[in-house]
C-alpha cells in the first residue's frame, strides 16, 4: 500500500488564459506507489493542472517539485526527460507502424559501432526482444510485436500506449482518460494493466470521468473544483455520491466525514 512519501507535487499553481483563470492556486501531491485519480467538473481546471504537470502548459505562478527538485517544464519533452510519461487521450500511437516500433518511437535502439551510431542503424532484433519482454512483464496478451497497431482493438492499442509509458517512465505515469471510448471488457483490461504498472512501483496519475473506474482502481482521489484542490479523499471511506457532491459543490469538503479525507 502507498507510503506517505511524496514523489511529485505542485504548490499554488496559477494559469490564466487572457481574463480566464483556469487554475487558481492549485496544489497537488502524489505519493510513491499509488494510483491518484484526479476528478473534477468541466472547467474545474483539471486538464490545465494535468497539462502543467506534464509540461504541455507552463504555469504563470507556483512551483512543481519532482523528487525534491524544483522543475521548470517548457514542453512535454522536458517532462519526459525528467521521467514523467504521459498517455494521451487520443491514443498517441502511429497506427500504421508495428507495436515494437511504437514502443520505441522517438527513442529507437541503434546498433553499436561507429557506423551503426552514425547512420542510426536500428537494432530491430533487440527492440523486438525488449518489446516482447516488456509486454510479457505487464501481461499484455498480444502475440506478435510486428503487427501494425491498427490491427489491434481499441483496448489493446491503449495497452500499447500504457506499456510504452510504463517502460520508459522513471518517476511518474500520467494517464488522461485512458478508458474513455472503450467498451466494458476493454476498459477492464486497461484498468488491470494500470494496476500492474502501480504494483511494479510506478505511481500513476489517472484523469477520468468514469466514477466506477476511479473508485475501483484509485488509492486516493484528488477532487478539483473552481481552479483549486477542493479535497483529497479515500475511495474506501467515501461514497461515490459524496465525492460527486464535493466535485459539483453540492457539499463542502468540511461536510465530509473527517476520516474520509486522505
Amino acid at each position: 500500500m502507498a507510503t506517505e512519501q511524496i514523489v511529485f507535487e505542485a504548490k499554488g499553481l496559477v494559469k490564466r488564459y487572457g481574463g480566464v483563470t483556469a487554475i487558481d492556486g492549485a496544489d497537488f501531491s502524489l505519493r510513491a506507489g499509488e494510483i491518484l485519480a484526479v476528478i473534477g467538473d468541466n472547467g474545474a481546471g483539471k486538464s490545465t493542472l494535468i497539462k502543467a504537470l506534464s509540461g504541455a502548459v507552463v504555469p504563470d505562478e507556483g512551483e512543481i517539485i519532482l523528487d525534491g527538485k524544483k522543475m521548470h517544464f517548457r514542453s512535454p519533452v522536458d517532462a519526459r526527460k525528467a521521467g514523467i510519461e504521459t498517455v494521451y487521450q487520443d491514443l498517441a500511437v502511429a497506427p500504421a507502424m508495428t507495436i515494437a516500433e511504437n514502443l520505441f518511437l522517438g527513442r529507437e535502439l541503434t546498433k553499436g559501432g561507429a557506423i551503426g551510431r552514425m547512420l542510426k542503424l536500428l537494432d530491430k532484433k533487440e527492440m523486438l526482444v525488449q518489446a516482447t519482454q516488456r509486454m510479457a512483464d505487464l501481461k499484455v496478451g498480444i502475440r506478435s510485436m510486428t503487427q501494425a497497431v491498427e490491427t489491434l482493438s481499441g483496448g489493446q492499442r491503449q495497452c500499447v500506449a500504457v506499456a510504452r509509458a510504463a517502460a520508459f517512465a522513471q518517476h511518474v505515469v500520467i494517464m488522461d482518460e485512458p478508458t474513455a471510448a472503450l467498451g466494458v471488457k476493454e476498459g477492464n483490461m486497461v484498468l488491470e494493466l494500470i494496476r500492474r504498472v502501480r504494483d511494479r512501483g510506478l505511481p500513476v496519475i489517472l484523469i477520468s470521468h468514469n466514477m466506477p473506474h476511479v473508485f475501483e482502481i484509485a488509492d486516493r482521489i484528488h477532487i478539483q473544483r473552481l481552479g483549486k484542490r477542493a479535497a483529497v479523499v479515500n475511495p474506501k471511506k467515501i461514497t461515490m455520491s459524496d465525492a460527486v457532491a464535493v466535485m459539483t459543490g453540492a457539499k463542502l469538503p468540511e461536510e465530509i466525514a473527517p476520516d474520509a479525507l486522505a
Partner: protein, 318 residues
C-alpha cells in the same frame, strides 16, 4: 527480415500485377515490345522519372505532395548545362551548382510547409510556376547543346547479355536500394513514416517533426538534381521545356507503386515498379502508334485509376 516479408500487405503485390498486365497487353499489340532491346530502352527512358519519383515518394510518405519536381529538375539541368557550356565551368562545379539550386528549391518548399504552415499542394503549385518562369528567363527559352562528354557519361551503355544497360539506370537502381534500406533500417528513416502516419503522436514521442519534414524536402531536391544530370545525359541537350511529363508521371509512379497519398504507408521499391509501369505505357503506346497527346490523356486516366483502386482496396482492408 522474414517477418517483414510476412507482414507486407497484399497490396504490395498490386504494382507487380499491374506491371504484368500492362506487359501482357502490349505484348499482344506489338511484336517488338517483348524484346531485351526494348526493355533496356524502357529502363533508360524511366531513369529520369524514376529518380524524380524517389523524392516524390519521400514527400508523399510525409502526407505531402510535390507539384514542382519536374520543373525544378529542368531548372537544375539548365543551370548545369549553361554553366558548363557557356560559362566554361568545370562540369563538377556546374553539377554542384545545379544540385545547390534543386536542393534550394526543396528547402524553400520545406520552409513554406513547416514554418509558414502552408499546404504542400499550394506551396509546390506556386514553386512549380516560379521554377518554370525562372528557367525560361534564365535561358531565354533556348536549349543548350554540345554538352561536354563529362556530363553525358551517365547515358553511356554497356552490354549485359543481349541488352544494353545504361550507367544511369544502374545509378537509379542503386539509389532506390539505398533509399529503401535508409527508410526501413534507420531511425531517421522510420521517423519519416511516423511523421506521415501520425504527426501529433510523433511530436509527443519527441521526434523533431519540422526537422524531419525539412530534411525530406531538401533530400527530394537532391534527387531532382541527380535526375537533372540524368536528363542531360540521356538526351545530350539542356532543354528548358524538360520535366513537364515527368512532373505528373512521378506522382503516377508513386501511387501505382502502392504508396498512400495520405502518408505513412508505402514501400519505396514499389515506386520503382510504378515508374517502370509508366515507362511501359509510354513505350507500348508509342509502339502502337498512339500520338503523344493521347498518351498524356491515358496517363492522366491511369493516375486517377490508381488512386481509386488504392482507396477501394484500403477501405476493403478495414
Amino acid at each position: 527480415m522474414k517477418s517483414e516479408i510476412k507482414n507486407l500487405p497484399w497490396t504490395a503485390l498490386g504494382p507487380w500485377i499491374a506491371l504484368l498486365a500492362a506487359c501482357s497487353f502490349f505484348a499482344t499489340q506489338s511484336d517488338r515490345f517483348l524484346s531485351a532491346e526494348n526493355f533496356s530502352l524502357i529502363l533508360q527512358q524511366v531513369m529520369v522519372v524514376g529518380v524524380i519519383a524517389l523524392g516524390q515518394t519521400l514527400i508523399i510518405l510525409t502526407a505531402g505532395i510535390d507539384l514542382s519536381c519536374g520543373f525544378v529538375m529542368a531548372l537544375g539541368s539548365m543551370v548545369i548545362a549553361k554553366l558548363a557550356v557557356e560559362q566554361g565551368w568545370h562540369p563538377a562545379f556546374a553539377v554542384g551548382m545545379g544540385l545547390l539550386v534543386t536542393c534550394g528549391f526543396g528547402l524553400l518548399n520545406g520552409l513554406l510547409v513547416t514554418k509558414a504552415k502552408l499546404p504542400s499542394f499550394i506551396v509546390t503549385l506556386g514553386t512549380m510556376n516560379i521554377a518554370f518562369a525562372v528557367t525560361q528567363l534564365y535561358t531565354s527559352s533556348a536549349s543548350v547543346t554540345e554538352l561536354p562528354e563529362w556530363l553525358t557519361a551517365l547515358g553511356k551503355t554497356f552490354e549485359f547479355g543481349s541488352a544494353q544497360v545504361s550507367v544511369g539506370t544502374c545509378l537509379m537502381v542503386l539509389l532506390y536500394v539505398l533509399a529503401w534500406r535508409y527508410l526501413s533500417d534507420t531511425a531517421p528513416g522510420r521517423h519519416i513514416y511516423a511523421v506521415g502516419n501520425h504527426p501529433e503522436a510523433s511530436r509527443l514521442s519527441g521526434i523533431p517533426v519540422e526537422r524531419v519534414l525539412l530534411g525530406v524536402y531538401v533530400l527530394a531536391g537532391f534527387f531532382y538534381g541527380i535526375a537533372a544530370l540524368l536528363s542531360l545525359a540521356r538526351t545530350g541537350v539542356g532543354d528548358p521545356q524538360a520535366g513537364q511529363t515527368e512532373n505528373l508521371d512521378s506522382i503516377t509512379a508513386v501511387v501505382l507503386g502502392g504508396t498512400s497519398l495520405f502518408g505513412g504507408r508505402g514501400i519505396i521499391l514499389g515506386t520503382l515498379i510504378g515508374a517502370i509501369i509508366v515507362g511501359v505505357f509510354r513505350n507500348g503506346l508509342t509502339l502502337m502508334g498512339v500520338p503523344s497527346v493521347v498518351q498524356t490523356l491515358i496517363t492522366g486516366v491511369l493516375v486517377i485509376l490508381a488512386v481509386a483502386v488504392d482507396q477501394l482496396s484500403r477501405k476493403g482492408a478495414r
